[in-house]
Amino acid sequence: MKMKKWLSFLLAAVLAALCLAGCGGNQNSAVVEEDMNQCPEDSYEINWYLMAEPQSDVHSIEAALNDYLKDKINVTVKINCLSSAQYGQKMNTMINANEYFDLCFAARWMLDYVNNARAGAFVALDDYLDSYLKDTAAGYNEGILDCSRVDGTLYALPVNKEMATQYGWIYRKDIADKYNIDMSQYKSFEDLEPVLAMIKENEPEMNYPIDWSIDTAPFTLYQSENFIFKDGTYPDDTVMNIFGTPEFKQACETARDFYEKGYVRSDVLTATDQLQRMKEGKTFVMLQPIKPGKVQELFKDSTYQFAQTGVTQPMIDYLAGTGSMQAISATSKNPVRVARFLNILNTDPYVKNLVIHGIEGKHYTKIDEKTVEPIENSGYDLYADSWTIGNVFLDYLTTAEEPDKLEQLKQFNAEAKDSRVNKFLLEANDDVEQRQAEISNVIDKYKKQLVVGAVDPETTIPEFLEQLDVVGVQEQIQYNQEQYDAYLKTLEQ
């Protein structure tokens, strides 16, 4: 009897708490429109979360920004840098808790842009494109904003940067010259084998002439060349299980073959220092996602010479629009002002370079109009994170880079091939999500070992496929096919 009384009390308390929480949320004030040509009278503080390593001298950048923006849009900016280790977890909790902030970094692979957008975490920006974000919108290549839309609505502005993915070899140029190897003629891992055998024999320093991780192993090239799309479509519009394709088997066999012949290191499954080894001159070649100036960025103070050459065509894929974005939070108290700030960030070189390089004379020295030299240990340098902020075409380059990097980047974007699958988004209900989670558990268990060549594909692939069948991959394929067909229909209209 006593117990019952307590339970009912508890229940009442819980209900009351729920009710309070319900009433508390969504107190968003209505959007206040502003005149684009006028500086508003009230000041507003923008709470901005960046995915970047925290910098000790961030306060002087905030002060400089505030000075500059006061007469333009009357805002102050609070910069919060969170490292990638913390960013996803902290921001997701903040969004779920409906906590106030204004602006944040989001992407398809970090902070789950698509699901958070669907859940209403971000402000829809379509209405601003003709007004507050007009200058920014004009700067994008055609079609890019469509890639960022979720169910037809734009919830974040993509960072204007390289908009395509291309894979290519990065390699030791001095060694290639020594043996007269023309890397641009090798278009597959299989072609490359004689070169690797020769290097292994003649260069004792290079025990393992080639190196890879899960994303740069032979399968990556197959996937990229045949353009097997992320959720598993073939070019002829049939969805299929990519792990059951002969291409996947072939790629795993190649990886296994290289592994057994000792072209790749034996701890490739667990190693994380592939690029460091390469920089120390211990690896001849690696497959990497490339863009103009990639090796200069990677190996800027190495004693060896490096070069790069493309293997696949640059492709605009689903990452073009959703790989790196800035989103305005639905909890922002003044989204219009934040949008105006975003517009300035995307179009004003002074603001962009202040945010990434810091203050002239204090954090960098200016070499010429568009080149800077960072001052070491100055307490502020976010240049490495420039690709998560605004518009990279406004950046001042550093002296280590090729001066025409940005022109090359524009060229790269212009030449990239578009694909019609890159705007496809899968809709999922709870059951499907459950199944997807089970499928990706199985994939996590097998894919990496197979792809890097650490296990024998002959016995492991059948086991892998069997496990996938158990968790319902066939149903999932059917489900994807229906959605994909529907998507193709909307595309034709």
């Binding site: 990638s84 280790a85 902290k90 909790t93 409906n98 220092d273």
Partner: protein
């Protein structure tokens, strides 16, 4: 006699194996932290440094303020947190252990329910941030762990079984108040239990990186474990997401070497090793000393 010797020998062998299994990783960590990074690249890990080098330690102490500040935060949080939480847990569970305490059932029920059910991360986060405004304060790393319902239940049982009612009654007869009974009669008997809880809480606070992830944005308030966790996580993130971060080349190259990671492990582990023997003394003592004679 012979059988005893035999079983002794077997026990010794088992413990020797367990000793090696636990000590070996620590020795390996120390060794890696003292090995030249190029030697690791060439020969892999070894129990004795191939080429001796203190480069890793110099690397992590390159900006000593960061590490020293993190040390200060961790030590403050651990000392204050462990002391406060042990006190609160002991007081609460002592009250629950007293049969003559009226609110006993209600408070036990309250503890029990919160142990079984909780509101989940988001509700907890909202309480901590909107109600108590803990974001970016050192208290955000102390308050959430102050009460631990599981330890309360353990301590209540411990008080009930190890502190006889007659001792409390004798205190009352001699005219002692409740506070005096608790601090002068009950605590000395309950030292082993309290020391156990104190040790657990010390470890909890020392090893915590979850609270800084949730509540700390200011770099000045990062603690030691968070620095370590962040370093490891960043490396993992960079490797997992390399294909998305085609632009993140520079971060990829600034990844600390294996040596630096291990050196930070050693630095983070050091002081807590000293705490162990200190608590151990109490375990052994407390287990052997009884309370009522005759």
């Amino acid at each position: 006699m012979l059988a005893e010797k035999k079983s002794n020998l077997i026990l010794n062998i088992i413990f020797a194996i367990m000793f090696v299994v636990t000590v070996f990783p620590i020795l390996l960590t120390i060794s890696i932290s003292l090995t030249d990074s190029r030697a690791i690249m060439d020969h892999g890990y070894s129990i004795w440094p191939e080429t001796f080098s203190t480069e890793a330690y110099r690397y992590i102490f390159k900006t000593p303020e960061t590490i020293l500040r993190a040390y200060a935060v961790t030590i403050f949080v651990t000392v204050v947190g462990a002391t406060l939480s042990t006190l609160i847990i002991s007081l609460y569970s002592y009250a629950l252990s007293r049969k003559d305490f009226k609110g006993r059932k209600v408070l036990t029920f309250y503890v029990f329910i919160t142990m079984l059910f909780n509101g989940g991360t988001v509700a907890w986060y909202i309480v901590c941030t909107s109600l108590y405004h803990l974001s970016n304060t050192v208290w955000s790393m102390i308050l959430p762990y102050l009460m631990n319902t599981w330890y309360i239940i353990i301590m209540r049982t411990f008080f009930q079984t190890s502190v006889p009612v007659s001792i409390i009654e004798s205190g009352k007869l001699d005219g002692a108040g409740e506070w005096r009974i608790f601090f002068e009669l009950v605590i000395p008997i309950a030292v082993p239990g309290i020391a156990t809880i104190a040790l657990f809480q010390t470890l909890n606070y020392w090893n915590d990186w979850w609270l800084p992830i949730m509540f700390i944005v200011k770099p000045e308030l990062y603690n030691l474990q968070f620095l370590l966790q962040r370093m490891m996580q960043n490396i993992q993130q960079l490797n997992e997401n390399a294909k998305y971060m085609a632009n993140a080349s520079e971060q990829l190259m600034n990844v600390p070497t294996d040596g630096a990671r291990m050196a930070l492990c050693i630095v983070a582990m050091g002081p807590i090793l000293i705490v162990y023997p200190f608590f151990q003394k109490y375990f052994i003592q407390g287990l052997t000393i009884g309370s009522i004679k005759g």
